[in-house]
């Protein structure tokens, strides 16, 4: 367990409420994630965990409450929001690599178009990142030519190319074949060890035990439990969490 600093929290949500029509998906959420902390968010489907992840860079607008990243309140729309999103890496369940661009172009697009990096510098950095996630040899292929695990690692490299302050992972391994899950988790574990602030929506218990500082258990739009991994997995406090763990751990 690495030490976590106590200055301005990297992510802060205050009294956040979010509705989808009549459905109350996030109920009065208060959450602070310090710099360098790795948080795993668990919970049954429909508990609001993906929405929690998506409101942090405002892919979903909230109905009330406020969100601040590194002390800066999230702007509403427009250029300021785009600039802030550039500092937040996001990895999706379905990878969402740009289908009409090569893997290398997927990774260099943001640095060139948003950070205004030079093409050669962006390319060099992208190749280093692709090397780091183990797919440098796939750089000139298109996303559809790669396996799911390779695509997800490319998506992580694309996010890292922006040199983000925070990385959000929305069920990064849920769409993968079982034999490809570990190659993605290994990359994520490496990131966690490097001190990246991460919020990971995932049911990968091994990753939560190995890399997380903190586990949030969500149910019905609320954070039902907020504890360290050992405590949560060995002695969950709520019945909802016991029930949930009973269902996923028996198989």
């Amino acid at each position: 367990m690495t030490e976590v600093s106590t200055d301005t929290p990297m992510i802060r949500l205050s009294a956040v409420d979010k509705y989808f029509g009549a459905l109350h998906v996030l109920r009065d959420i208060d959450l602070e994630v310090p710099r360098g902390q790795v948080v795993v968010v668990l919970g049954p489907s429909g508990s609001g965990k993906s929405t929690l992840c998506r409101v942090i860079n405002r892919l979903e607008p909230v109905d009330s409450g406020s969100i601040a990243l590194d002390g800066v309140p999230l702007p509403a729309e427009g250029r300021a929001l785009a600039e802030l999103r550039a500092d937040v890496g996001m990895v999706f369940q379905q990878f969402n690599l740009f289908a009409h661009k090569s893997i290398l172009d997927n990774v260099t697009l943001g640095p060139i178009k948003v950070r205004k990096s030079g093409k050669a510098a962006a390319r060099d950095e992208a190749m280093q990142l692709l090397e780091r996630v183990g797919i440098a040899d796939q750089a000139d292929k298109y996303p559809a030519q790669l396996s799911g695990g390779q695509q997800q690692r490319a998506a992580i490299a694309r996010a890292l190319a922006m040199r983000p302050k925070v990385m959000l992972f929305d069920e990064p391994t849920s769409a993968l074949d079982p034999e490809m899950v570990n190659e993605v988790l290994d990359v994520m574990t490496g990131l966690a060890a490097d001190g990246m602030t991460m919020l990971v929506v995932s049911h990968e218990m091994g990753f939560a035990r190995r890399a997380a500082h903190r586990v949030l258990f969500m149910a019905d739009g609320e954070v039902a439990e907020d504890s360290v991994p050992e405590d949560f997995f060995q002695a969950p406090a709520t019945d909802r969490a016991k029930d949930f763990l009973g269902k996923i751990l028996t198989h």
Binding site: R85, F98, L109, K113
Partner: protein, 216 residues
């Protein structure tokens, strides 16, 4: 059928005039239609309202009425121009509504995750649309856009009949009414002229469609 061979240069000039109307109208309609499609998917409500109003007005008005507005309404407002300019712009305005809807259907066919990924990398609305969404929308847009363009080529006959003169349709009209030629062979010539434009246009679209295909 000697009327066609005898008047070949007339037909050729008609073909060229029709092509000019279609080229200018087509380019203007593509430009306006793309801008309006961007408005219709914009996060800003006023822009969406502009796009929606545009489509509502020009898709639901008969082309002939739009052309009357251009030719007789605008001069009353002090805006003057030739029939060619008014006719071409009128056809472009009318066609742009259909172009807009064809492009918008293509935009909607691109998985929403593509735009989400673009936004999360920090791209703005314009960059997301021009770098990520539109290049992928092109593929599914080509067939409906092709139909719109071919309809526009045929609609150019109305612009010609309206007073531009000298286009393919007017050539036919001139030969039959002014020169008293039999209608049937003259019209066959006119129809062949349109097919000379529309059939290669269709083939060209097929080639473009294959060129822009994206593997998924």
């Amino acid at each position: 059928m000697h009327v066609i061979t005898d008047n070949l240069s007339l037909y050729r000039d008609g073909l060229v005039t029709t092509l000019r109307i279609c080229l200018y109208s087509g380019l203007l309609a593509l430009l306006l239609g793309t801008i309006m499609a961007a408005c219709r998917v914009s996060p800003l409500t006023p822009l969406r309202a502009v796009g929606t109003s545009w489509v509502t007005v020009f898709r639901n008005s008969p082309l002939l009425v739009v052309l009357f507005f251009m030719a007789f309404g605008l001069p009353e407002l002090g805006i003057n121009g030739t029939y060619f300019v008014f006719g071409t712009i009128g056809l472009a305005l009318y066609t742009s509504a259909f172009v807009c809807e064809a492009i918008r259907s293509g935009i909607n066919a691109v998985p929403p995750g593509q735009a989400e990924a673009a936004r999360s990398v920090g791209l703005g609305f314009g960059q997301t649309l021009s770098l990520i969404v539109l290049p992928q929308a092109v593929r599914s847009v080509i067939p409906p856009l092709g139909s719109v363009m071919i309809a526009m080529i045929k609609n150019s006959a109305i612009v010609g009949a309206f007073g531009v003169g000298g286009d393919l349709f007017s050539v036919g009209e001139n030969l039959t009414s002014a020169q008293g030629e039999a209608a049937l062979p003259v019209l066959i010539g006119v129809m062949l002229g349109y097919l000379i434009i529309t059939i290669p246009a269709g083939l060209l679209l097929g080639i473009v469609e294959r060129k822009v295909a994206i593997a998924r």
